[in-house]
C-alpha cells in the first residue's frame, strides 16, 4: 500500500515538474515531440553491436536536464524502475551469441607496466599474453542497455518538460488517430484514480489481516483483482455517461494555443543536425584520432 501511495505521489511530482516555467517548458510541444522522435529514430537505427557511436547522444539528455533544471536523481530512479524490461530483452544475448567479435589486447600495456615497476624494484605479475575477448552477445546486450537509457531518458525528459496532455495534443496535430489519443489521455487521467482505488482495497485488506503476514495469498489476490476490474468497468460506464451528457460523440477536441515560431524551428533544426552528424560520423573515433595525433 505504501508503495502504491508513494508511486502516486511520485507521478504527481512529474506533473509538477512539467508545469515549470523555463524557456524549454514554454516551447511549442510539437517541436519537443518532433526532436525526441528524431533522437529516438537516430538511436535505434544503429547496428546491434554499436556502442561507441551511441555515446555522443548522451549530450542531448544532459543538455535538456541542465537547461530545464530537471531533478536528475528522480529521473534516474524512474529509469531504474523500468530497467528490468530492457534487461530481460537482452539477457539471453550473451548465451545465444557467443562468437567473439571484440579482442582487446592489453599485452603491450601490461608489459610496459611490468617494466616500469621493475625499475623501482617491485615484482608484479609474470610476463604473458593479456587478451580480453568479448562475445557479440555481451556487446549487443550492452548496446540494448545504452539505447534503453537514451530512449527512455528522452521520453521521460519530454514528458517532464511538456506535460503528458500537451504531448497528446502534439501527437494529435501530427495526425495520430484520435481514438489512440483518447486512450492515452484516459489512461493517464484514470491511472491516478485506479491506483487510489487499488490502494484503498489493499489498505482495507491489510487492516484486517493483522499479523498473518504482509504477503497477499494467491487465493485472495484473484478476487481482489476481479473486484478491481468490476469497479473499473462500473466507473467506465459512469464516465461514459458523464461524457454523453456533455455531447460526446466519439472524439475529443481540445483548445490549445500553439505557436511554432522561430525558436521552435531553430530548436528542431539544430538538434536534428547534431543527431544526423552523430549518426553519420563516428565521433568517438574522430576524437580519439585527434587526441592521438595531438599527443603522440
Amino acid at each position: 500500500m505504501a508503495n502504491l501511495q508513494s508511486n502516486l505521489l511520485d507521478m504527481f511530482y512529474m506533473d509538477t515538474i512539467a508545469s515549470g516555467e523555463t524557456r524549454l517548458h514554454n516551447l511549442d510541444p510539437r517541436a519537443k515531440v518532433m526532436t525526441t522522435l528524431i533522437f529516438v529514430a537516430a538511436v535505434v537505427s544503429f547496428d546491434k553491436y554499436e556502442i561507441a557511436m551511441l555515446i555522443p547522444f548522451f549530450i542531448y539528455p544532459a543538455v535538456m536536464v541542465a537547461w530545464a533544471e530537471l531533478p536528475v536523481v528522480y529521473l534516474f530512479k524512474k529509469m531504474v524502475v523500468l530497467m528490468p524490461f530492457a534487461f530481460f530483452i537482452g539477457m539471453f544475448n550473451p548465451v545465444i551469441d557467443t562468437d567473439i567479435i571484440l579482442r582487446v589486447d592489453f599485452t603491450d600495456i601490461v608489459t610496459r607496466f611490468i617494466e616500469v615497476m621493475r625499475l623501482v624494484e617491485i615484482n608484479t605479475v609474470q610476463d604473458g599474453i593479456w587478451l580480453v575477448e568479448i562475445s557479440g552477445g555481451w556487446i549487443s546486450f550492452f548496446s540494448i542497455m545504452v539505447r534503453f537509457f537514451l530512449t527512455v531518458g528522452a521520453a521521460l525528459i519530454l514528458i517532464s518538460i511538456t506535460g503528458f496532455d500537451s504531448v497528446c495534443v502534439a501527437l494529435q496535430k501530427f495526425g495520430v488517430p484520435k481514438p489512440f489519443i483518447v486512450q492515452l489521455m484516459f489512461l493517464y487521467r484514470y491511472m491516478f484514480v485506479l491506483i487510489d482505488e487499488a490502494s484503498r482495497m489493499v489498505r482495507a485488506r491489510s487492516l484486517r489481516t493483522f499479523d498473518s503476514g504482509s504477503h497477499m495469498s494467491f487465493n485472495l489476490f484473484i478476487p481482489m483483482i476481479g473486484q478491481l476490474l468490476l469497479r473499473t468497468l462500473d466507473r467506465a460506464q459512469r464516465i461514459h455517461l458523464a461524457m454523453c451528457c456533455r455531447g460526446f460523440e466519439g472524439h475529443i477536441n481540445m483548445v490549445r494555443k500553439m505557436n511554432f515560431g522561430i525558436h521552435e524551428t531553430l530548436f528542431v533544426a539544430v538538434w536534428s543536425f547534431i543527431f544526423i552528424m552523430f549518426r553519420l560520423y563516428n565521433i568517438p573515433v574522430q576524437v580519439g584520432m585527434l587526441v592521438t595525433e595531438l599527443f603522440l
Binding site: 497528446c168 455517461l241 458523464a242 481540445m254
Partner: protein, 254 residues
Amino acid sequence: MSHHIVQAENLHYTYPDGTVGLNEINFKIHHGESVALVGSNGAGKSTLLLHLIGSLISTKGNIRIGDYPLNRKNLKSVRRSVGMVFQDPDDQLFMPTVFDDVAFGPINLGLPESEVEQRVMQALETVGVSHLVKRSPHKLSGGEKRAVAIATVIATMPDILIMDEPSSNLDPASRRRLINLLKTFTHTKIIATHDLDMAIELCERTIILSNGKIAADGQTKELFQDERLLNMSGLEKPLTMQGCIVCSKQNFIC
C-alpha cells in the same frame, strides 16, 4: 411552449434482474422551480435521475422535457438542455486539465474557440475557482473537484440542472459555499440528496421517494414536519427543525 418543464407520466422501470426500480411516478416540474428528491437508500432517486438524462429508458410511461417525450431519437437535443452533476466528481472530470474539462461541453456544442474560452472562464468564475484553470483534476481537493464539476455543466448553459448528492463528502465550509452558489442559480433544479437541511434552504418543493414510488410531493417545510411520513420513508427530521439538544427548545424554521 417551454423547454424547461420536466414531466414524468406514469413512469415504471424494472431492472433486468426483476427488481422494481420505479413504480407509477408522476410529477411536473415547472420552469425555475427547485425540487429536492429525497428518500432512503435504494428508494429510486438515482434510477429516476438516470431516466431524466435518458440513460435508462422506462419500461412503461414516459418523461417529457419541454414539450417532447424523451426517447432515443431526441436524446442528443434533450441533453443540450439538461445538465447533470454526478455524485462522484472523478466520474465527471475526465480531461487532463480543468480548462479542458470545462471546455469539453462547449466544444461539443460547436462553439468557436474564442467563445469556448469565454464560457470556460465565466463558468469557473461563477463557481469561484478560476485560479484552478490550469490544474489537473486529480490534484484538486474534494470541494474544488465538486466546484469544477458544477462548472463543467453550467458552461454548457443548460436550462435544467440535475444534481446527485451535491453536498456529499464536503466539509462544512465547502458545503456552505455550494449552497450559497446554488441559491444564485435561476435554472430549474432537481437535487437528489440525503442532506435535508440543504433541501430546506434550496428547494421550496420536495418529492419523497419510497420503494420506487412517490410517497409525498409538496412544500418542503410542510413535508419535513410530518415525522410519520419521514419515518416511513426512512428519513429523519432535518437538524434545523429538531429541538435544541442543550435547552430542548424548538429551533423552528419559519
